[in-house]
Symmetry: C2
Subunit: 360 residues, 2 copies
């Protein structure tokens, strides 16, 4: 099979070395005669990889002991409910920043449980900007402020961390986590669905300041409280063991590759060359304010949308897969997470130049 | 590597043919150059296997169009909350039958949301029996009656379906589903964590009568309503795609092996020969009322518990893995789900006879 490059927004490409390890471990993992899918989460072998996964992600992100690291189910979408149920009381005010489709969904769910204050909103610019921080209308008594550091669909990314003083800062980092170092100590809670930079869909990483754990509303289902998982090492019930194992392989792989400083350098370079090519061309364009363009998801459109189908078909034939933009914005989107090698971006650029040449 | 037999209670052994397929599909599934973990759940390829999985499990269990078939996250344990939140109103009476550790946990969670009536309880017999149905104290106005057809830890199984008239019958079938044909039309709702007879941990099967969908309490988190998943084909948010794919392979495998009638014949035979050997010996014993012994989980103890450690070590060395009983009951437990071949049970019997001979 010839080499392909998978630009899927998620579930997304995994590191080749990780997939090879997964393959090698079936059907006999560690010489046990069993695959990792077939053993108890309570056993010594699994517990060891679960603990190592936590340790490695703590090391990668520099997470202090003031934070619990949890491995949950339900995706980032379940966090849209768990965050308000755990960090606010009924009817309490919460601040949210709306910068695209995912923050909008987070707001819709939290508004069912809280007094919602949308402190800032870039809907007017069709979610191509981040409202200047000095225009945010924050509450004096918010339980927390929630934002979405990277909007997977619009390709809008915060290249700074908002300052919220004593108000806990909560971030949905699903599509940006592990792409570069972050200062975890600035956050009350970080959550991320796995299926972009962590591993297969079906596991969710939550990093929560320990003093925020144990405050869930009394009528919260047990499995929707952070407390239950913090107390049990994320084994309140049977965890998604295979996804946890693959996430652990990804963490170990990132460490071996030089950690998040190394990832950041590559990711910045991959994004920069793609944006530069788009900006230099009048055939392609990207609508996002250059100050807040995503390193991870690069949406772009053709000047002539009639060429979209041809672009996608030819790209696919050239081994450049899953470049179709989200149905809500159209055009193309290149998701270039950690596991997308720089050669993939180079191959895409080469293809784009050639497609422009033959279609202008 | 020499052949081993894995008696884990769950996550549990998977069919060898399924594991071989999983291995063959990494790193290129269907010739796409991508593994199934790396593609969008919204894509045509994944949607096809998701729909086929549903179709196959409908066929295996004879599920009519009156029922929705959902693939969720959170395990059976999350259903302990979802069932009351979706099928009862606040403070409404619900009936539960307590026959072991798992029904006990289901009761504890539901009691937080409902007026709990424990209609029958076998705690007095240390959960080795099922209280006769004519002694059950059912409510006249229960929202539903919940029971646990197979108790994984105690090894107690219902070999009949309780008659509840117009009261919807709800069953946690985690450790018995697909082990034999069942009459789904007798149930309001059936749920099952995957990690025994379905696939890897991280996906949960829910079969729910359509007229019971859409009644969730108003303050239920969206991802805890059956309605959201019934309307979206279980794609309200990113599903655990890999686990869904493996479950689909298991369903197809069961069909190819002759379906649930064939499974039932083998499972009954495997269990019968194990119980017969235990009963014939004074060295081993099983405490469960013969009328309600599990086909899936066979707990047994040695007359002399001082021999337990030696039994487990020698069994392990002989390739008979994970036979240790649950910490709450001690002794041994042989979990003999669909994927445990009859040769595995035969090998265990041979070992038990030999161990008895050398240790009596």
């Amino acid at each position: 099979m010839s080499r392909i490059f998978n630009f899927s927004a998620g579930p997304a490409v995994l590191p080749g070395a990780v997939l090879e390890q997964v393959r090698a471990d079936i059907p006999s993992w560690r010489g046990t005669g069993m695959s990792v899918m077939e053993v108890s989460h309570r056993g010594k072998d699994f517990d060891e990889i679960a603990r190592k996964a936590e340790q490695d992600v703590r090391e990668l992100l520099g997470i202090s002991d003031d934070y619990a690291v949890l491995f949950l189910q339900g995706g980032a979408t379940l966090q849209f409910a768990m965050v308000p149920l755990n960090l606010s009381q009924s009817g309490q005010t919460v601040d949210y920043v709306q910068t695209g489709s995912w923050s909008k969904k987070a707001i819709a769910e939290a508004a069912r449980f809280c007094a919602m204050n949308v402190a800032a909103d870039s809907a007017e610019s069709s979610f191509t900007t981040i409202p200047p921080v000095d225009t945010w209308r924050v509450s004096s008594d918010a339980a927390y402020l929630h934002y979405t550091p990277n909007e997977t669909i619009g390709g809008v990314e915060f290249h700074f961390i908002p300052e919220t003083g004593d108000v806990p800062l909560v971030a949905d980092m699903s599509s940006t986590i592990l792409s570069r170092p972050i200062d975890v100590s600035r956050f009350g809670l970080i959550y991320a669905g796995a299926q972009k930079n962590i591993g297969p869909a079906g596991i969710t990483l939550v990093i929560v300041r320990k003093d925020l754990v144990g405050r869930a509303r009394v009528d919260t289902p047990t499995l929707l409280t952070y407390e239950a998982f913090a107390e049990s090492g994320s084994m309140t019930n049977t965890p998604p063991t295979f996804a946890w194992y693959v996430a652990g392989l990804v963490f170990a792989h990132l460490k071996a590759e030089g950690g998040l400083e190394a990832m950041a350098a590559i990711n910045e370079r991959k994004a920069a060359k793609l944006y530069a090519a788009i900006d230099e061309s009048s055939f392609y364009s990207n609508p996002v304010d250059p100050a807040c363009r995503s390193w991870m998801n690069v949406p772009f459109v053709l000047a002539d949308p009639a060429l979209d189908a041809g672009f996608l078909a030819k790209a696919d034939a050239a081994g450049l897969k899953n470049l179709k933009g989200h149905r809500s914005v159209g055009g193309m989107r290149a998701s270039i997470y950690n596991a997308m090698p720089e050669e993939g971006v180079d191959a895409l650029l080469e293809f784009m130049v050639e497609f422009e040449r033959t279609n202008s």
